[in-house]
């Protein structure tokens, strides 16, 4: 065995810090051995995925409850979205039984000291690592954002391995924790027009599909907002498993520039859009906020909905983090949105809520949301700008 452990690591592995810390250390050392890590390193931030009862089921909940018996977080740990808005779930049509089970999941995390943020954008609400910081994050879109846009260092963790890092404060040093594995491998020159969040999502789809797990170096995108980058991250991680990219002039990591260059044309971006636009789709569900909407996006949506009414046969979900929703309440955006007949939903999103069978067609600005709407819920999909989504909602 080449994995070097400190006394504290070994004590945890020997069960001196309780059975949950022991189990957690078993997971981390096993991964370290599989990937040939030389040692474990400390992490300062954790983001846990696998929160919706819809995905976890009773067995997953049982595992979390077991770990919560004596497990306690050692570092800042935040949580991915749940399957419902934890306060206003009733009016969104979530069943009593689902709500009860979802609350049991969140309670298990709370017992371990996990901060129940229930968002896929921890970096917008207080879990913001800095450049070069070693962290252990699950949630593929947030992993991609942390590595690429912030320049923090994390592997693409799963739910149980992220929890293991939360309970030990440690992770194995391999993959994206090592500088030599963060160098760009393929260069993509973007000739297509990239303007709105939907375009960034489509670009993520094209690059993700082509590059798979190879690290892209992207040129030709002149500027981008945080919101546009989060859309790109979600999509490139969903369609390709990308955990790190470089975007010339926009992302902070240093890298060599690969010689091998591929071009991304407008035709390809248009083809990606046609691929996500199902024929004869009947839109009855409109959702914005995958990844969770920022306060800026909510302010803009509120302005578009001011004095308007959502069409009777349509349901609108704007999904966000609870602290952002609280700000929206304070600023009056919440009232404007809800008066128009749309819902400002916190803690959840259209990808993890139990929505199967409730709708036929989803209109969204998110390429990632389209992927899950099709795969998990069998909805038809259409992708447009946020502005076009809201226009369609009130048409």
């Amino acid at each position: 065995m080449g994995l070097e452990l400190t006394k504290d690591d070994r004590d945890m592995l020997d069960g001196k810090h309780g059975k949950s810390a022991k189990k957690a250390m078993e997971i981390i050392t096993a991964l370290g051995e599989i990937y040939g890590a030389k040692r474990l390193i400390s992490v300062s931030s954790v983001q846990i995925a696998g929160v919706s009862y819809h995905n976890l089921g009773e067995a997953g909940l049982e595992y979390l409850s077991d770990m919560a018996e004596d497990g306690q977080t050692r570092v800042l740990t935040t949580l991915n979205p749940a399957g419902m808005d934890l306060t206003e779930w009733k009016k969104h049509g979530i069943s009593e039984s689902f709500a009860k089970n979802q609350k049991r999941v969140v309670d298990a995390f709370l017992k371990m000291g996990v901060i129940a943020t229930c968002t896929c954008t921890p970096y917008l609400i207080g879990n913001l690592p800095h450049y070069g910081e070693h962290i252990a994050w699950a949630e593929s879109s947030a992993v991609c954002f942390a590595n690429s846009v912030i320049g923090a260092m994390t592997n693409r963790e799963g739910g149980p391995s992220a929890l293991a890092s939360a309970l030990t404060g440690r992770t194995a040093e391999y993959g994206f924790h090592l500088q030599e594995n963060r160098v760009a491998q393929v260069r993509y020159d973007v000739e297509a027009r990239i303007e709105n969040t939907d375009d960034f999502g489509l670009l993520g789809q094209v690059i993700g599909t082509r590059t798979k797990k190879a690290i892209p170096y992207i040129t030709g995108v002149a500027n981008a907002t945080t919101e546009q980058l989060k859309s790109f991250c979600a999509s490139v991680a969903t369609y390709g498993g990308v955990a790190l990219f470089h975007m010339e002039g926009l992302t902070p990591n240093r890298t060599l520039v690969p010689d091998k260059t591929e071009v991304i044309t407008q035709d390809e971006l248009d083809a990606a859009r046609s691929e996500l636009d199902d024929a004869d789709v009947e839109i009855d569900f409109i959702s914005v906020g995958c990844p969770h909407a920022s306060i800026k996006e909510i302010a803009e949506i509120a302005e578009m909905l001011e004095g308007k009414k959502v069409a009777k046969e349509k349901t609108v979900w704007i999904t966000t983090a609870k602290p952002t929703k609280d700000l929206a309440v304070k600023m009056g955006y919440y009232d404007t949105i809800e008066k128009a007949g749309a819902f400002l939903v916190s803690d959840a999103c259209c990808a993890v809520a139990p929505l199967k069978g409730r709708f036929k067609g989803l209109l969204t600005d998110s390429a990632k949301a389209c992927f899950y709407a099709r795969g998990k819920n069998s909805f038809k999909t259409k992708i447009r700008t946020i502005e076009e989504c809201i226009k369609e909602a009130i048409a």
Partner: protein, 131 residues
């Protein structure tokens, strides 16, 4: 008796009948958590159950939720007795650890046939064909 040496992923000893495939396994969406039946469309084990078998496959694939599926199988009494891989991927490794299923890898799985009687000693990293 043939004996193969590999690497421990999770300790434990098991004896039982091999269920072998040359195709990778996605537990999430590919294996029913309450029955152990492989449901992935077109998989060569589609319709077969992993319950109570020594499950021999090259590697895992797919969503990280797969770890929780192995845990669900264990709770339902439908887990494999042990897992033998060519290369254990992190989803299966984490699943084996949280479910306490003896698991070893670095084994040439093409040398094992479905129905053979195996003894797995994962702690020692050894799998033997006893008949």
């Amino acid at each position: 008796m043939s004996k193969f040496e590999g690497r421990k992923i999770y300790k434990g000893r098991a004896e039982g009948e091999a269920l072998v495939t040359s195709e990778d396994i996605s537990f999430y969406g590919g294996c029913e958590p309450d029955t152990g039946v492989i449901v992935e469309k077109g998989h060569e084990l589609e319709g077969k159950s992993v319950a109570g078998k020594i499950f021999v496959f090259p590697s895992g694939k797919g969503s990280t939720v797969g770890s929780y599926v192995l845990f669900a199988l264990k709770k339902a009494g439908k887990a494999p007795l042990a897992i033998v891989n060519k290369e254990t991927d992190p989803v299966v490794a984490v699943g084996s650890i949280i479910s306490e299923i003896p698991t070893i890898d670095h084994i040439d799985v093409s040398k094992i046939r479905t129905g053979q009687k195996l003894v797995v000693d994962a702690g020692l990293g050894v799998v033997s064909i006893v008949e």
